[in-house]
Subunit: 136 residues, 2 copies
DNA sequence: CTGCATCCCTGTTGATACTG
DNA sequence: CAGTATCAACAGGGATGCAG
């Protein structure tokens, strides 16, 4: 409790839940892609790249449910649907960018740490405690 | 591109990857729980609550691999292992708290949005477009 | 164009039991 | 106490086909 922060497990659980939602592999991409203004379904899809139609639909529905985006249907032929960030969704971009900046700043450190860790693990596997011969 | 931010999909993918890692349901809890100082395995486990031994092990190993925590083994009997945040892990707490504050601030809005959304969905299900009789 | 339903595969999670 | 191994259950996610 060094600072004024809470540290109550229940609150942490809530944070974890939020992170799980927005960190579910596509929501971040959607929020960022919509950061420049509203987009149609397939524009969004092309913009993100690598997302299946199904996942985009599910992600957008979840985001709409959480109040991050609005879904506007134009009853034209062919149909047209615009997705746009709500104020809530836009407010999410700031803390998200914080974390994004942190990630970009530290991604190399993290990847190096991973390489080192994996290298050590390999060496450990190559020399599995010489003493203590299994059958002896 | 309204501000100085990047918005390159590749970068967003990295952010999403980081979010997926740290938002993997337990890492946040671990980081927060270790925020007050080093803890032993089972202390940490009790502190978090609801995490299985296996998941804690996996989460800690991943966190160690990424360089968020250090693992210190005391070769005593019974064995004792301390886990502690690295500077990198501690630096993660700040942007994490940002997002945490955002989550706490907006959790009610989000939950209300969900309730409303689910309520609407229920009404829609109850009135499945009166016109357009299936067989007619 | 948008998006729902279905099938299916995979990764992730958790319970249990066993080792050092 | 700390950690691993194995197995079973579940949800996430992709491909395809159909509908408005």
């Amino acid at each position: 409790m060094e600072r004024g922060h809470i540290h109550v497990p229940a609150q942490c659980g809530r944070i974890a839940a939020i992170l799980s939602r927005i960190g579910d592999k596509w929501t971040v991409l959607v929020v960022e892609s919509l950061g420049n203004g509203p987009l149609r379904f397939n524009e969004l899809r092309r913009r993100i790249g690598g997302i299946s139609q199904r996942m985009l639909t599910l992600t957008l529905r979840a985001a709409e449910r959480d109040g991050f985006v609005t879904r506007t249907v134009f009853p034209t032929i062919p149909p047209r649907v615009d997705y746009e960030l709500t104020p809530l969704g836009r407010s999410l971009r700031e803390p998200l960018h914080r974390l994004g900046d942190w990630a970009l700043e530290n991604v190399e450190t993290i990847e190096e740490s991973r390489r080192r860790f994996d290298g050590e693990a390999e060496k450990q596997a190559a020399a599995p405690r010489p003493q203590r011969a299994v059958g002896a």
